[in-house]
Amino acid sequence: MALDRDFAGALADVVGAGHVHQAPGDLAVYARDATPLFHQVPDAVVFPATTEQVARVLRLATAHRVPVVPRGAGSNLCAATVPVRGGIVLALTRMTQILEISTDELLARVQPGVTTARLADAATARNLLYAPDPGSRTTATVGGNIATCAGGLRGLKYGVTRNYVLGLEAVLPTGEVVRTGGRLWKDVAGYDLTRLLTGSEGTLAVITEATVALLPAPAESNTGVAYFESLTEASRAVGAIISAGIVPATLEFLDRKCVAVVEEYAGLGLRLDAGALLLFGEDGPLATVAANMLRMRQICAETGALEVTVAEDIVRSEALLAARRCSLPALSRLGSLTVLEDVTVPRPRMPEMVGRIDEIADRFDLQIATFGHAGDGNLHPTCVLDPDDEDAVGRVHKAFAEVFRAAIRLDGTITGEHGVGSAKLPFLADRLGATQLGLLRRIKTAFDPAGILNPGKLGS
């Protein structure tokens, strides 16, 4: 459906004609994000350059009752940026300035289109750390990370994106600009709208600027690798490490299939014969890192590791982490359709959850590889299959529905870090219950009475 000509003309007046795309080819590329099996062509893609332009676009969209889907780099895995009801995709990739980095306030102020890696590098250059570390950091934008409350490899020790958002500038669908929170670490005036907008997946407001907390950069960091017979044994080591009072910076595991594909891509010389690999790492003062790395090494050996090695230098350590960050796309080497999911369970129940996933995979005759953040119980069971095998595609949906139910039964959740989007919306009621879902809908209406912001997602 093409946009009304007056409306398209008004959009062009706001952002410039070259920044409103309506040609079929230009629209086709915005029909999907990184979520397989979700696809819908928008009616226009609009590229604003300022908050003021975002506000004017939203006012127009509300007046014309046209859906608006804000989008960063489109790397999310829950179809949060697929325009399921058509309308406008609001691409924020022109708003890419790092506005400020303050070393004495320990914060940065950025536009939403800055990539997470660019922010992290800018912080590092000032001897600071931007802690959120999602796998897609080189591609993903800070705005997108905040909208989905992205997690990543440092979750156990450092938490997820919401722990670092101090304040937001955001535009409501009515065109009003709000500034929530600010530059302060202590500020309890009013409802915490900053936290509410973080993880709201573009359904309440469009984030146009973020103030994020930084930490002093750790003096030292290191990463090691331990190989185990199976994921169950690796999980036992995880439990023992945490019981020993260590909160490591990294505690990631990969199963045999994941190790094989990561090795094929990164060529790190990983051992391919073990059932599971545990990546353990620590950062902080030199003495702490040395002591904790040694202790983790010992614990892995005591819990039956087949082999334990520690990276000899920072380059090798970074290479290990980089390889781990790409395990999802690397898995697609096994089959051209890759459906990756994201469940979290309490850490002690992780072996049980891994067992349930294996059992479900067998029952539905599917290949499911699993990797994840062992430290925080966040698992990514990933199914690889042939997209032309319709029967298998049907089985995947059923199998993952069971995986989500299993996670909830183990006191877990249907998503730990990817978000709900369109993909998980059918399962949200199972997790939240009817009362909470109703409250979500009332909040949505308070922000967006016309229902134009990212319809078909949270609050719908």
Binding site: H21, A23, P24, G25, D26, A28, V29, Y30, A31, R32, D33, A34, P36, V45, F47, A73, G74, S75, A91, T93, R94, T96, G113, T115, A117, S136, T138, T139, A140, E264, Y265, C326, S327, L328, P329, A330, S332, R333, S336, L337, T338, P387
Partner: protein
Amino acid sequence: MIFSKTLLDRCISCGYCLPACPTYAMTGDEASSPRGRISLMRALETGHLEDDDPTLAEQASFCLGCRACEPVCPAGVEYGNLLEEWRDHQWSGRRSPLPARLLMALVSRSWLVRAQGLVRRHARTVTSASGPSLMLGCVERGLFPRVSHAARKLAPGLSVPKRQGCCGALHAHNGDSGTGERMAKSLGDALPGTIVTTSGGCAAHLAAHVGRPRVRELSEYLVEHDHLPSGRLLVDGRVARVALQDSCHLRNGLGISRQPRELIRAVAEYVELPSAGACCGAAGTYSILRPRESGEILSVKIDEIEAAEVDFVVAVNPGCLRQLKTGLRKRGSRVRAVHLAELLVIVPR
């Protein structure tokens, strides 16, 4: 079927390629990213977009073909091959850009390519039955004949057969991969044994069609055969500062980036440019077909070279060398652009 099915299926749209893509960096528009272009190819394949769709036409030519997206792709998508198939379809027959068509017509006539030797004296031809042979290149022997002289001096064992034409990379990158493949194979027949080339683009294209084991790019050959120069290159009595511009196809296609650096380090103070691995905008015929974008990319590169305060910037591909020379001349820079072979022969031994 326009595309080999398995090639398109490989991409899972994760978007890890976006930050590596120079055209995405210019626009921030998904359509000008590798992932976006693959979406366009899929739409073409399934008939959702027409052959004459303007976005398809624009993006097929906007892409540099630098393949920077390939090494960063964890899924192993062979974007370079997809682009060749896409351009074969997009630019079939008369729809291919006129300047590219003219150039292709020139270099596909091997007598014409050889006749360049009458005007620009490249390395003297020396025949041997089994090689390894030095490939003279179609563009390079005309533009930079001194490169083959230098290569012969650095690796005296190379034979230089007389009857050799163009490898066909130009065709493959401009919508005629059939001819490109035929030309590569016939060059493979004309040059027995190992083929040593001083052009990164030719190396990658040849390797794809005559087999990787038969192809050696000069820096790779020199390092493998321990032909490391021993002297020091001096400028005004101090060791020269030298930067490198990678050849995209050499780096991203064949994974060769260490060897040219190693050779430079052996003779000079090596200075890494921040974007040494990113395309300089020459990209085969790109600088002719899209001068504005090519110039924009080059301008950043020249800024970097100036800021690095080097004496020389080294290229390992004739297209890049011409591009850098043009950029430096326009800027009135005192930095000299040379081919790696030329740099190594001026070192006193």
